[in-house]
């Protein structure tokens, strides 16, 4: 896979505030890339620079081989963005909104009607097309936002906290659509999210803090580096668990042991085969990784 986004030594300040500091990373074509950080970490600034909304102070950016400072139009034709909050016109109908936005990419007439029909099927918009955006529920509005971002068949879809506040059904629909687009159109997805379970499904994760990269890698690499493993063991008493000499936590019908890594888990099991009759081993969660890297938790939109 080739790099579709290359960022090298990107920096951006607002007065004395250094929003982005010497940021460098790569996004591979077709991958789901998660860009994580607490509020104010520099995610939105980076995205705004990528989209050509902000100028950078220094560093270089290449998107699909083009420089945003020189080939902004070319890059914009290949970018679709779903903003944190809906920026469509509340007073206009869904169809009017999509029509005015499609025209920005010179998609009009029969081409527009055909594309809207495709997106309506994909995102279940048929019944919403004639309704004013302001009258839609949060989930319905989000589906329209995504349809708007996909109107011009972008190569890269930037999702800025797309599922915050959505019901599970809409989140599922959204991720199904994205998975389908990635599979069928090899679309690259650049995601920022506060839901760590979404980041766990990413191909690659970058965590930034105070404008700098704190950690990066695949979810597995990050879990291995920043979080231990857990063995959940069933059908034994507490004295037996204590005899293992490992940190543990009591669950309703089991005990969860903390071990440094999978190797340590294997050694423990091999050493006490009579105890480990009914058990499961799990990697740590991305929440644990995030907490270990930044010292803070991200829980559905708020840092703690």
């Amino acid at each position: 896979m080739q790099d579709i986004i290359r960022i090298d030594h990107l920096s951006k300040s607002f007065g004395d505030v250094k929003a982005v500091r010497d940021l460098s990373f790569r996004v591979k074509e077709g991958e789901l890339f998660a860009f994580l950080g607490v509020n104010g970490a520099g995610k939105s600034t980076t995205i705004n620079i990528l989209c050509g909304q902000l100028s950078k102070d220094s560093g270089s950016i290449r998107i699909d081989g083009a420089d945003p400072d020189r080939n902004a139009d070319q890059i914009k034709r290949g970018l679709g963005v779903v903003f944190q909050t809906s920026v469509l016109d509340s007073a206009l109908s869904v169809r009017d909104n999509l029509e005015s936005r499609a025209a920005l990419y010179e998609i009009t007439g029969a081409e527009f009607r055909s594309r809207v029909a495709e997106l309506s099927e994909l995102l279940e918009l048929d019944e919403l097309l004639g309704r004013a955006v302001g009258k839609l529920s949060g989930g319905q509005r989000r589906r329209v936002d995504i349809a708007r971002a996909l109107l011009h068949r972008p190569k890269i879809l930037i999702l800025d906290e797309p599922t915050t506040g959505l019901d599970p059904q809409t989140r599922k629909l959204l991720w199904n659509v994205i998975a389908r687009l990635r599979k069928e159109e090899n679309m690259t997805v650049f995601l920022t999210t506060h839901y760590m379970e979404e980041a766990a499904d990413a191909d690659y994760v970058v965590i930034i803090d105070s404008g700098k990269i704190s950690a990066e890698g695949t979810p597995l690499e990050l879990k291995n580096a920043y979080s231990g493993d857990f063995i959940t063991i069933y059908g034994i008493d507490e004295d037996t668990v204590k005899s293992l000499g490992t940190d543990y936590e009591r669950l309703r019908d089991a005990y969860r042991l903390s071990v440094p890594d999978t190797r340590a888990a294997t050694e423990l099991i091999v050493k006490h085969p009579e105890i480990f009759c009914d058990y499961e081993i799990m990697k740590g969660k991305m929440d644990d990784v995030f907490l270990a890297v930044t010292g803070r938790k991200l829980t559905g939109g708020d840092e703690q």
């Binding site: 909304q53 902000l54 914009k76 920026v87 206009l92 920005l104 990419y105």
Partner: protein, 298 residues
């Protein structure tokens, strides 16, 4: 071109669907109507009749026509500018609610975005102001019609020119606004203030000398005077035919701002057209320059 026409369609639709913006734009004309209906109409009627030479009785229809034509000239002069400002607030609203980000991530050029705001404001304002002009003409016909065909066309041309002026001026000012609070502040100032400084609420001639001299520098003043001239010259001509001395007509024209003076020198109607035309061209030029010089947000 498709892009600009789609954006214009969007902007015009939004203006007429956004009841807040639409009704705010009609506040100033509504204030004028209330002022005339409650007391201003009677004040002017008494003032006209009191200044007539003794023994000269004018028909009620003529007096009604005079007061009515003053009312419609005030409404049209002020509406062309205040409606343009309110219609153009969409430009600021798009910045305030983040919609402009969505427009700017597309490959459309910022200059085309600015052009679409200008043209859509022009269209929305012209629709409202020409509708208002039609209603004003119906009103004039009901109280006393003294306009010639050329007066009507010149009046409509004045409306067009004033709308161009209001749209260009609002485009420049709105370029520097970015929040809902600023929209409210500027909307209030323009709605309340422009009616005074253009002489719509009170004739400029009734202001003090110093203020009159300052107002003489404002191009909108000449727009009001053009509208006054073309809406009132018919009724003033009819008054002259009914025996009102030309000195009294001249004095009335001074009082009603049909005659304007720049430091004592009377400004002729063609010169008023030149002033307004040059101002519109200059304002559009400034707006274009602002958009050319505007860089990415830093």
């Amino acid at each position: 071109m498709k892009v600009v026409s789609a954006l214009i369609k969007r902007n015009v639709k939004l203006f007429f669907k956004d009841k807040g913006m639409f009704f705010t734009s009609l506040i100033t004309p509504a204030i004028l109507l209330v002022l005339y209906a409650t007391f201003l109409g009677n004040v002017y009627r008494d003032s006209f009749t009191a200044n007539l030479p003794e023994g000269l009785n004018l028909s009620e229809k003529l007096i009604d026509g005079l007061v009515g034509s003053q009312l419609i000239s005030s409404i049209l002069a002020v509406s062309c500018v205040t409606v343009a400002f309110c219609s153009n607030f969409l430009m600021v609203q798009d910045k305030a609610n983040g919609t402009v980000k969505d427009l700017r991530i597309s490959p459309v050029k910022p200059s085309l975005l600015s052009l679409s705001y200008y043209i859509s404001t022009l269209i929305s304002t012209l629709v409202i102001c020409f509708t208002a002009a039609a209603l004003c003409l119906v009103y004039t016909a009901s109280v006393g019609w003294y306009l010639s065909v050329s007066d009507v066309f010149l009046l409509l041309a004045d409306v067009l020119l004033l709308v161009l002026f209001g749209t260009a001026l609002s485009s420049i000012i709105n370029t520097f606004l970015s929040s809902q609070g600023q929209i409210s502040a500027v909307g209030t100032i323009v709605s309340a203030g422009y009616g005074f400084i253009c002489g719509a609420y009170m004739p400029i001639s009734s202001f003090g000398d110093g203020l009159q001299k300052v107002i003489a520098f404002l191009p909108g003043t000449y727009g009001t005077s053009l509208v006054r001239n073309h809406s009132m010259q018919g009724v003033l001509g009819a008054m002259q035919e009914q025996g009102v001395p030309s000195e009294v007509i001249h004095e009335l024209k001074d009082v009603l701002d049909c005659n304007l003076y720049f430091f004592g020198t009377k400004v002729a109607v063609p010169v008023m057209y030149v002033i307004l035309g040059v101002t519109v061209a200059a304002l559009i030029g400034i707006y274009v320059m602002l958009n050319i010089l505007k860089k990415k947000d830093r």
